[in-house]
């Protein structure tokens, strides 16, 4: 199939349909509105169901219901709307149900603005709702990668019975790039024998619940979920290493910011400074080992995390580097996008001081 020009939000929606998603529940918010708009057109064509709920809270609980019945289901929103969905998300994680949640992040806190941001990193990777749980968080840096990751997200969700979040920013949602809808390799997945679809000859009802009133049982449930998370940390880390060989400074950046950093790396190279990049594609599980390995490289003098936030992922970089090298932060926030030039200047400032 030839490459076609697609808008990020629409490509994400089409990728979900290609992955077998047949249910979408959402509520409008900029800058992700093209996702529900596209779903409202396409889902009826493939025998699916699109429903614009009365609120984000209703939408996520509809996702809970459809996931419990074993359907492939997705919702999407942007930062304030994702905050509203947190109660439902922790219930879905607690009940061990698969679904895909797209967050096209905008500036915060509060209503914030509508321009691109990465300030929902903590919320996405550290739980977001109450209780001990994780989402698998995938952060594409291009529309093509978004299309591939969305399709894989449904398989990851089904394999581990856990919600998966696609974390993009307003640029990923709004920009257009060439996309090829190649066949993504499907995983061998277990039957959804747990789904609440009626008895079908069985004697016992399937019950989906996140209530464990006996503390010992609740602890057991947590331990079981965390065994699953250990498997995810072992099997599912995705990361791109770029130009690390001989690098004096290693950038940490994800999503569209990683692309801006790559421009900065090229500019630094022209000035005789070798710089590399570690781009986490899974934000949870975080590619700790890649950072530790880079920290042990003799050429590396420092790390610089570049984000569209006041500094969130930088904390995971610090934890991963274990104090072996200094970790610095540069960011723009509230919808402002860092320029390659500013990143170059920041790197030079750090290296000047580190020498």
């Amino acid at each position: 199939m030839a490459k076609e020009l697609w808008k990020g939000n629409e490509a994400i929606a089409e990728a979900a349909i290609k992955a077998g998603c047949r249910f979408f529940f959402g509520y409008p918010i900029t800058p992700q509105n093209e996702i529900p708009e596209y779903m409202s057109l396409r889902l009826p064509q493939v025998g699916g169901c699109f429903l614009q709920a009365e609120s984000e809270v209703a939408a996520i609980n509809m996702v809970y219901g459809a996931a419990g019945a074993g359907a492939r289901v997705m919702t999407s929103s942007s930062s304030p709307g994702i905050s509203l969905k947190q109660e439902g998300i922790t219930y879905i994680a607690g009940a061990e149900l698969p679904c895909v949640i797209v967050n096209i992040v905008r500036g915060g806190p509060g209503l914030g603005g509508i321009q691109p941001a990465q300030s929902d990193y903590f919320q996405a990777t550290k739980g977001g709702g109450h209780g001990d749980y994780h989402l698998v968080v995938l952060a594409p840096d291009s529309i093509q990668e978004a299309v591939n990751l969305v399709q894989e997200a449904f398989d990851i969700a089904d394999q581990y019975r856990n919600p998966v979040m696609i974390l993009g920013d307003g640029m990923i949602g709004q920009m257009m790039e060439p996309v090829e809808f190649t066949e993504v390799k499907r995983r061998q997945l277990p039957e959804k024998t747990w789904a609440t679809t009626g008895l079908r000859g069985r004697k016992e009802h399937n019950i989906i619940n996140s209530l464990f009133i006996d503390p010992a049982a609740c602890e057991q449930h947590n331990l079981k979920i965390f065994e699953k998370y250990a498997q995810i940390e072992k099997n599912e880390i995705k990361v791109e290493e770029y130009n690390l060989e001989g690098a004096e400074i290693v950038f940490a950046a994800y999503g569209t910011v990683a692309r801006i950093v790559k421009n900065a790396i090229k500019a630094l190279e022209k000035d005789g400074i070798k710089a590399g990049l570690i781009r986490p594609i899974t934000l949870w599980p975080f590619p700790k080992a890649n950072f530790l390995k880079a920290a042990e490289m003799p050429s590396v003098k420092a790390f610089l995390s570049v984000e569209m936030s006041m500094g969130q992922m930088v904390e995971d970089v610090e934890l991963s580097v274990k104090g072996k090298k200094p970790v610095y932060f540069y960011g723009r926030t509230g919808g402002m996008v860092p320029t390659p030039k500013a990143i170059v200047e920041e790197a030079k400032k750090i290296l000047g001081g580190a020498k």
């Binding site: 020009l5 900029t30 640029m171 709004q174 920009m175 257009m176 790039e177 421009n263 390659p340 030039k341």
Partner: protein, 178 residues
Amino acid sequence: MTHQIIMAGFGGQGVMSMGKILAEAGLKEGKNVSWLPSYGPEMRGGTANCSVIISDEPIGAPTVTEATTAIVMNRPSLDKFEKDVLPGGHLLINSSLIDRKATRDDINVYYIPANEIADELGTGKIANMVMLGAFIKVTNAAKEDTIMEYIAEVFSGKNADIIPLNKEALKRGADCIK
């Protein structure tokens, strides 16, 4: 070769469409392309702009902060983006609606009376295609034939009668560049 283009104007002047058409043409010619719009509470009469990159290399940042070319369709866009053109780059000014000259002397400036030409062709709506015609004449970022191939795909069937108008607009724009 990498073209980093900013296109800007009033909402309704066809700035976003101009960018999309260019990106589609670049893709048809086998280039790497990206199209990034300003988005938000813009509406007809508000300001709108998009960043288009056409490159032989893989595209890094989709944002354009240093433009090889800026196309400005109205005065606020000239005021905002003149400074973002790289030295030696190009600035295309819609002189029908912009009453001042460029202030920089380290860039190539072209004045195109896009709305006057569009009105002569019968509709002001086609001013964006006049500018696009001038742009490809200056930069060779895409071929006129490729743009027309895309236009013919979009306006098929009962809308096909506006295809020649688009071709004429591109040509009249190109004729402005000596």
